[in-house]
């Protein structure tokens, strides 16, 4: 009787690192002086942030009339950006929660930055929730707050109220998950701290972590519990976002396929964004041994799978539009592909459906430059997907008399730029002041040290040079 022998797994961390190497490699980014690359990157993102903040301020001061919206197209870049950022925010939770539950150990070196990215992306999305309102100073009215009017309450029928709950829950849980994962690493930095300030701040946020077995056990329980809570959120958040459209009466929005289609799209774009950021981080912070080609490949496979799901969803939509016999829906889809916004539609099709299929080739999915390029292409495509859904459905709906075109103004663009500024400024602050890789978890997936000692020594020397 033969028994099944598992193939020997590839090492998740290469370069023969010891535990102390891991601590050293990761902490040195936090402890050292900011590098030149970091200064440049942070400087540029700050400038982008400041310019964007000016545009956003102007938008709030004057009213959202500074955008290109009109009586027919009431949402365009604002909600496109919102959905796009929320979608991007999906990968973090998926990686840390779902992959944790599925015991996918390769996730350990990327989950920290993926989670950070999630939180920043959700913040960007939230900025569009506020910005798109006519009267943002009354945003709290969308919350079911007690008030002096007694029975005045929010409309629980409205998908926008569901959105409020979905997004705020998602943000709180992601933040908690991320922060909890940070605690042991913050404690490591605290323990290594050489300056008073660092000791104080990292000490404060490490919540008195002692590293005892009991605390580690609790840490593990908490991870599992939070992963359990987060997992349904991965599905629910974008399902609810999709219901903003699916529950409406607008042809092109009123589609039952939207929840799974949106979730797949969100994971698709989220993984692409993680990919983009990791490929930069691993080079800038020299983390090639932690974020390996293996990681990149795995990510590319997820991108191909979700991209294919999205592609099938696009085709299904078309089929249903024809099969339903609803003339408005048929027209909405024909108009998408051949109407005045055809270029946006074909942009979306090319970027989202065709480009991920290139990853069927191993050479392509293990090529860093191509992966980087395609990860950006995917997010461009996903932005256009939301633009196509929102704008091309609205701009020609039921009554031809109201058909109109939308074209963005500099404030549509500026407010989008704002979200990039916000995202990257936060991301670079994170990258400088917090450990970008979860040291504690990475150590848990490393093999014993002694067998690799010679290799390790070489590697250490290399990094020190």
């Amino acid at each position: 009787m033969s028994h099944v022998v598992s193939p020997i797994r590839e090492k998740l961390v290469t370069g023969g690192k010891s535990y102390s190497d891991v601590t050293h490699d990761i902490c040195k980014q936090v402890e050292g002086e900011p590098t030149k690359e970091w200064k440049w990157a942070f400087g540029i993102s700050s400038i982008v942030f400041i310019y964007g903040a000016y545009c956003l301020f102007y938008t709030w001061w004057q009213g959202i009339g500074v955008w290109g919206l009109n009586k027919t197209v009431g949402w365009a870049w604002d909600i496109t950006n919102f959905v796009w950022w929320v979608g991007i925010g999906h990968a973090g939770t998926l990686i840390s929660a779902v992959l944790l539950l599925f015991r996918q150990k390769w996730r350990t070196s990327i989950n920290r930055s993926a989670e950070a990215m999630t939180i920043f992306a959700v913040l960007c999305a939230a900025s569009f929730i506020l910005a798109h309102m006519g009267r943002p100073w009354l945003a709290h009215w969308a919350l079911p707050l007690p008030n002096a009017f007694g029975s005045l309450w929010v409309n629980f029928n409205s998908p926008l109220v569901w959105d409020v709950f979905a997004i705020s829950t998602y943000l709180s849980v992601s933040l908690l998950f991320w922060y909890m994962g940070l605690v042991p690493d913050l404690a490591s930095i605290r323990d290594r701290a050489t300056t008073k300030g660092r000791k104080f701040w990292y000490g404060l946020f490490s919540l008195g972590w002692t590293g005892s077995s009991k605390t580690w056990a609790r840490y593990e329980y908490m991870s599992l519990i939070l992963a359990g809570i987060s997992t349904p959120l991965v599905l629910s958040v974008h399902t609810i976002v999709s219901m903003d459209f699916a529950t409406s009466v607008i042809p092109g929005w009123h589609t039952t396929i939207f929840p799974p289609y949106f979730v797949a799209g969100a994971i698709f774009s989220g993984f692409a964004m993680v990919q983009t950021l990791l490929l930069i981080t691993r080079v800038v912070f020299k983390l090639e041994d932690y974020i390996t080609i293996e990681h990149i490949e795995m990510m590319n496979i997820v991108i191909t799978v979700t991209g294919s799901v999205v592609g099938i969803a696009y085709l299904t939509e078309f089929f249903i539009a024809w099969y339903s016999g609803v003339e408005y829906e048929s027209y909405a889809f024909i108009n998408r592909a051949t109407g005045p916004y055809w270029w946006a539609y074909w942009m979306m099709m090319t970027c989202n459906v065709i480009s991920p299929q290139l990853f069927w080739s191993k050479a392509i999915r293990t090529n860093l430059m191509v992966s980087f390029f395609l990860s950006i292409v995917v997010n461009v495509g996903m932005w256009f997907e939301r633009f196509v859904i929102i704008v091309t459905s609205l701009h020609r709906d039921y009554l031809p008399s109201s058909w109109a075109m939308f074209s963005p103004t500099m404030y549509d663009i500026g407010d989008y730029i704002f979200s990039f500024g916000l995202f990257f400024t936060l991301f670079f602050l994170f990258a400088k002041y917090l450990p970008v890789v979860n040291m504690a978890e990475v150590k848990s997936v490393m093999k014993g040290v002694s067998s690799n000692f010679p290799e390790k020594k070489k590697a250490t020397k290399k990094t020190e040079e």
Partner: protein, 1015 residues
């Protein structure tokens, strides 16, 4: 301690109690050295304020200023100390009055609130206007509060007072009179008999005075052909209507009255015994006019063919009636023979009208009407209409005389010929040669600014006046507010200058009592109360004016040609802005033209084939030149227009009318030509159109023009089919279910609403809606709908709660979606008023996160502005796209200065309707304030509201009664009766199959055509 009388002293002065010491005993620090000491001046303000006091004051000042800044500015609300008897705060007062603007007339009711006129409605007591108003009449209330009108008299462009003006002007007039110099009073048509009497008084004082009357939109040809009068026309008696270039539903002579008559012939009923007859309406014209858009058969001709079209029509009719033909080249245009056949077939109930101002053309039309028995039936020469009294020849003569220096003094009585006469430039050049010139115009416009004196007349809402629109029908104008600026009625001015008592109110009353009422004081009060006095039982005369058709035909043959090949200009009038007299009225500037849907501009309108030929597309800026005059303006591609023609609207290109009007469009009056002695709005030779290479957006409220074969939106049939089956042409979408096919409206997830009290609803008849858009202005006035300006309209952000969708037919097959986007070259047109449908399953209500839009217990979809946070989800989810968002703060913002930015302009605001702030959604409320007022009035009187007592603004102002509003729970209401019949006939809901269950129903359009045009 022991008492001690030991005394300590600080110095010898204290011990000795020196007077100087006693004086300063309370001044502890003596004379403090301070910065001012050395110079002997006070530091702060010269009054000896010291450093410490300064700091105290500074501290107090800063605190006080910052406190004051925290406080909201105080708006003064002053209660009545002695309340006027008639004025109850919050209760409107209504006054009967008369709107006149040149030859435009309407008997009106003016709604005033706390002494401010805020709304104008029609006066149903008038037998002439019968309670219908044009959009311009509705908008005129905003012109009252125009801050750019003159605030007082001017002498030589400097403010003066009336006494000074009177003194100087009378002295100059006396000097002119002493020399025997010629004096002219130049005016547009004057409907007022008392004003004419005043002019006669003036003429008596200065005998060299002559009164020159002209009209910017003349009907001189028509009056010439009828022996100097305009006959009464009654379309309601017509079975066949043929119009050759007369836009009688939009701009020609008395369009609102004609529209009401026309609609009577177009109303049909689906009941078994319902009316199944309609007039058949043929339209031959150059542009696609509002009237042409409503015609059953329509074809286009070039302006140079106009006279020959009329001759051809005459000859076609003559052939059928056996009369002798006229000489003249015949023009082959579609439907002309068919029209002649119908005219003859319905002899005695036929009418032909022509828009041309050429007297010769009108003479041939008289001859056709005589052949088809129109006189005494549809045309009545027994009652003269006074709407157009202008004499083109006299005016041209006046300008020539002025140019020759033969005129010594001129008074422009509310006339602006420098702008609105084709020879305006010549007049402007001639005016300096006139010794004394005065204008009574309300503003320093193109003409008045060239005059030495301006004696501004009051607005008609501030004035006493009368009118005689038709012989024997009188009506009165009474002031509804005291004069806002230091203006004086022109009549008072003329009386004063004639050396008489300037009290025109008394003069008017005296004149009425002695010449019109002839009965006594009681009647004057009654007449004033009713606004009208109509002693004349209309007499009908079938007298045919005597015309020499052969001579006319000969003259026509000389001036027109059957086949010219060059480009030609057609100058037309827009339904909204008209002649441009109220050009500074933002409501009218933002009035979407019924057919082109463009506002805030005039443009070179050309057909698609001509545009292709000239290699032009919409928005290309072209230079149009003719007669040595040229303008640059953008191209608008207009389906239905005659080939090789360029149409340009008058009323634009004002230069001195005010912020809203100046620089908007170009002046087209100079293109008007003189043909057979009259001003004819065409230019047929030497026309060139050349592209400048620039482009300019045209502000259109609708940019997609076809209905894309969506039968659920517009449903129509032809009369023949309708007679057989009232539901022919109806579109009933069904859905396949497990229980077989079902009506889409029978499937629902909703529980529905219970309306226990009222259920408000509306029915709109597509057959009688002419698209005139009077309702749009009325709605804006009633509901404080902001004007957003040209750029915002280009951005597709106009705020109109009520809009009129206009669709052209397409020649493409239903499957050819791209082809369906292109309108036919000569399209069928349908107008569809679109407003909030007050859905029972309203998509907007479910999606609002904060419950800012909800359903009322009476079926209204309500908008709570205060609660709105502006997510715009409701607007996106509205299938009718009737919701309007306040992208900016449209009032009180400099960029949107359309009379709502100053305290005066804001006086027009209806206090019963909230002015919406930035960031909130708004839409038709079905005039909920009127419903509420009507319910309260009924409640106070302990009764139910009576049907018709509550009227929404659009229904009330519809000249053709196309809109029926009422309580669908009341079985006796008009709407219930109408729906009871039409539910099995023409009534449908727009895009019914999505099952939002609108409370507004539309009645299918029925065309009186032989065959239905597909798609």
């Amino acid at each position: 301690m022991e008492n001690s009388n030991k005394r300590y002293w600080k110095g010898i002065e204290e011990l000795t109690n020196e007077p100087s010491f006693v004086k300063n005993i309370h001044n502890e620090f003596g004379n403090m050295p301070s910065e001012n000491d050395s110079k002997g001046e006070a530091l702060v303000d010269g009054s000896g304020t010291h450093r410490r006091d300064f700091l105290k004051m500074l501290g107090f000042g800063v605190a006080a200023v910052s406190l004051a800044a925290c406080e909201a500015p105080v708006k003064k609300t002053i209660p009545y100390l002695n309340k006027p008897v008639d004025v109850e705060p919050t209760i409107a007062n209504w006054y009967a009055s008369t709107y006149t603007d040149g030859g435009e007339y309407a008997s009106i009711l003016v709604k005033t609130r706390e002494g401010r006129p805020i709304k104008i409605e029609g006066n149903k007591l008038s037998a002439v206007s019968k309670g219908v108003l044009s959009g311009r009449a509705h908008a005129s209330v905003l012109s009252l509060y125009d801050n750019e009108k003159l605030k007082g008299p001017q002498i030589g462009a400097k403010a003066a007072d009336w006494a000074q003006l009177d003194k100087e002007f009378i002295a100059k007039l006396a000097a002119v009179a002493a020399k025997g110099g010629q004096i002219r009073i130049v005016s547009n048509t004057i409907l007022s008999p008392s004003t004419k009497k005043v002019i006669a008084e003036f003429t008596a004082k200065y005998p060299t005075t002559q009164h020159v009357v002209y009209d910017a939109n003349p009907a001189y040809g028509l009056t010439q052909a009828h022996g100097g009068i305009l006959p009464s026309i009654d379309f309601s008696k017509a079975k066949t209507i043929v119009s050759v270039g007369a836009d009688f539903l939009g701009t020609w002579v008395a369009p609102t009255e004609f529209a009401a008559q026309w609609a009577e012939t177009r109303r049909v009923g689906s009941a078994k015994d319902g009316k199944k007859e309609m007039s058949r309406h043929y339209q031959f014209e150059t542009i696609l006019s509002n009237t042409g858009a409503n015609a059953d058969y329509r074809s286009a001709y070039k302006p140079s063919q106009e006279g020959l079209v009329v001759i051809s029509l005459y000859n076609a009719v003559a052939k059928l009636t056996g009369a002798a033909a006229l000489a003249g080249a015949s023009v082959k245009i579609d439907h002309l023979d068919k029209a002649a056949k119908d005219l003859v077939a319905s002899k005695g109930a036929s009418i032909v009208v022509a828009g041309s101002n050429d007297p010769e053309v009108q003479k041939v039309v008289v001859a056709i009407n005589a052949l088809v028995g129109a006189y005494g039936a549809t045309i009545n020469t027994g009652v003269a209409v006074n709407y157009r009294q202008g004499n083109d020849m006299a005016m041209a003569n006046f300008i020539k005389e002025a140019g020759a220096g033969k005129i010594a003094a001129v008074i422009f009585y509310n006339a602006n010929p420098v702008y609105n006469h084709p020879m305006g430039a010549a007049l402007a050049a001639a005016l300096p040669k006139v010794e004394v010139s005065l204008a009574t115009n309300e503003r320093a416009d193109e003409t008045a600014s060239l005059c030495q004196f301006i004696a501004p007349d009051s607005h008609y809402l501030e004035s006493w006046n009368d009118a005689e629109p038709k012989t024997g029908f009188y009506s009165l104008t009474q002031p509804t507010i005291s004069t806002i600026f230091k203006t004086r009625q022109a009549q008072s001015s003329l009386l004063t200058w004639a050396g008489l008592n300037g009290d025109y109110a008394a003069y008017l009353e005296r004149n009425w009592e002695s010449n019109i009422l002839k009965a006594g004081a009681v009647q004057w009060k009654n007449a004033l109360h009713d606004g009208v006095f109509q002693p004349n039982a209309a007499s009908i005369s079938s007298a045919v004016p005597s015309v020499d058709a052969n001579a006319a035909a000969a003259a026509i043959s000389k001036a027109y040609s059957a086949s010219s090949t060059g480009l030609e200009i057609s100058v037309y009038e827009k339904v909204g802005l008209g002649t441009g007299s109220q050009a500074n009225n933002p409501w009218l500037q933002e009035f979407p033209e019924p057919v082109s849907k463009a506002c805030w501009d005039n443009y070179a309108s050309i057909s698609q084939p001509t545009a292709t030929k000239l290699n032009l597309k919409q928005g290309d800026v072209v230079k149009v030149a003719a007669k040595g005059y040229e303008v640059t303006l953008p191209v608008l591609v207009q389906p239905g227009q005659a080939q090789d023609t360029v149409a340009i609207a008058i009323g634009y290109g004002r230069t001195k009318a005010g912020k809203s009007a100046d620089g908007v469009g170009v002046n087209a009056y100079p293109f008007i030509s003189e043909i057979n002695g009259a001003c004819v709005g065409t230019c047929t030779t030497g026309v060139s159109v050349s592209p400048t290479g620039d482009t300019k957006d045209i502000a259109q409220t609708q940019t997609h023009h076809t209905v894309m074969a969506r039968q659920a939106v517009v449903q129509e049939t032809v009369l023949g089919e309708f007679v057989k089956n009232p539901q022919s042409g109806r579109f009933n979408p069904t859905v396949a279910t497990s229980e077989g096919k079902k009506n889409a409206t029978d499937l629902t997830l909703w529980n529905g609403h219970q309306y226990n009290n009222h259920a408000w609803g509306m029915v709109i008849d597509l057959n009688t809606c002419t698209g005139c858009s009077a309702c749009v202005v009325s709605c804006s006035a009633e509901n404080n709908v902001p004007v957003v300006g040209r750029q915002e309209v280009i951005n597709r952000r106009e705020m109109h709660w009520m809009r009129i969708d206009r669709y052209y037919s397409s020649d493409a097959e239903v499957e050819d979606l791209k082809g369906l986007e292109v309108a036919s070259d000569n399209p069928e047109v349908v107008f569809q008023p679109m407003l909030c449908q007050h859905c029972n399953n309203a998509p907007c209500e479910t999606v609002c996160p904060v419950l800012a839009t909800t359903h009322s217990t009476e079926g209204l979809n309500q908008m709570t502005y205060n609660r709105c946070i502006g997510t715009r989800y409701c607007a996106n989810n509205c299938p009718y796209k009737v919701r309007r968002f306040n992208w900016f703060r449209y009032y009180q913002t400099d960029e949107y200065d359309f009379h709502f930015n100053n305290d005066l302009g804001r006086m027009v605001i209806n206090p019963d309707v909230t002015v919406r702030s930035r960031g909130v959604m708004e839409k038709c409320s079905m005039c909920v304030q009127r419903i509420q007022e009507g319910k309260l009035t009924a409640k106070k009187e302990k009764r139910r509201p009576v049907d018709g007592e509550i009227q929404v603004a659009c229904a009330q102002s519809c000249p053709t009664n196309a809109i029926t509003f009422g309580d669908m729970n009341d079985p006796a209401s008009e709407i219930s009766k109408l729906l009871a019949v039409e539910k099995e006939g023409r009534a449908y809901g727009v895009i019914e199959e999505i099952n939002v269950k609108p409370n507004i129903s539309y009645l299918m359009k029925v065309r009186n055509k032989d065959v239905k045009k597909e798609a």
